[in-house]
C-alpha cells in the first residue's frame, strides 16, 4: 500500500522510555531501575545480554511526515497528535490561529475520520513499524501547502543544518536561470 506524507492513521505508539525503567523478570514483579547509567553498566557487564523492558503504549493517531517507506525496513516516520480538548479555551484558539508554531492545527475539514480536533506535535516525532500502523482507514490528510509549513516548522525546531542542501539548491537555481 502506498502512503503519502500528511496522512493520518491509527497506530500502536509506545511512550518514549524514561527513568525510572521497569525491567521484566519472569514470574515476578518488574525491577525498577532509577537511572540509565545503571542499566548501561549492567548490560555491558553482561556482554551481549539484553533485558526486557516494560513500556506503556496506546492506540493513537499519528501524522506521517514522509511518504518514504521500504519493505526491507518497514519503517515510517510520523508525529504524535494532541487532542485540543486537552487545552484551555485560550490555548485552543491560539492553536487554531496557528499562533503556536509547535502545535500544528489539523483543520477538521481535512480530518473527516479523526474522532477529535487535534494538532500535530512538532516536538514529538516517532518511528513506527508498518505492522504497528493501522492503514485500513485514512483519518485525514494535510494538503501540500500545509505539509510545507509543517515541514518548515519541523526542520526549524529540530535545528537541522540544511546549509549544504541550500547551497546546492541555490547553485542549481543559478545554473537553470543561466541555462
Amino acid at each position: 500500500m502506498s502512503l503519502a506524507a500528511g496522512e493520518v492513521y491509527w497506530a500502536l505508539v509506545p511512550y518514549t522510555p524514561q527513568a525510572p525503567f521497569q525491567i521484566y523478570t519472569a514470574g515476578s514483579s518488574p525491577l525498577e531501575v532509577p537511572s540509565v547509567d545503571q542499566v548501561v553498566d549492567g548490560l555491558r557487564a553482561g556482554g551481549d545480554a539484553e533485558f526486557g523492558f516494560l513500556v506503556r503504549a496506546k492506540a493513537r493517531p499519528i501524522l506521517l511526515l514522509s511518504e518514504r517507506s521500504d519493505p526491507r525496513t518497514g519503517d515510517h516516520f510520523g508525529l504524535r497528535l494532541l487532542r485540543l480538548s486537552e487545552l484551555s479555551t485560550e490555548e485552543r484558539e491560539a492553536v487554531r490561529d496557528q499562533r503556536e508554531p509547535l502545535l500544528f492545527h489539523l483543520r477538521p475539514e481535512h480530518m473527516a475520520n479523526l474522532p477529535e480536533e487535534s494538532a500535530a506535535l512538532i516536538s514529538a516525532p516517532i518511528r513506527i513499524h508498518e505492522s504497528a500502523l493501522d492503514t485500513r482507514r485514512l483519518l485525514g490528510q494535510l494538503d501540500k501547502n500545509e505539509m510545507r509549513v509543517l515541514s518548515e516548522r519541523f526542520v526549524s525546531y529540530w535545528r537541522f543544518d540544511l546549509h549544504q542542501l541550500l547551497v546546492a539548491k541555490i547553485r542549481e537555481l543559478q545554473a537553470r536561470w543561466n541555462g
Partner: protein, 72 residues
Amino acid sequence: MVERYRTENVKAVILHPDDFAALQASSQLLEEIARPGSPALTELAARAHQVAESPEGELITDKASVKRLLGL
C-alpha cells in the same frame, strides 16, 4: 492592481501575459528544485537497518541474574 474603496483593499492584480508566464516559469522551477535529491536505500543500508533492529544477545529474565548484573 485593482483596488476597491481604498488602496489597502486590493481585489485583483492584472498582469501582462509575458509577466504572468515569467512568474509561472519561476514558480515551476522552484517546485522542481525544492525536493531534495533522495538517496535510495541500498542493499547494505537495508541490511544494516535489519541488523540494528535484530536482538543479538541473550535475553535475561531471571530475577537473580538481572539483579546481579545491575549490582542490586
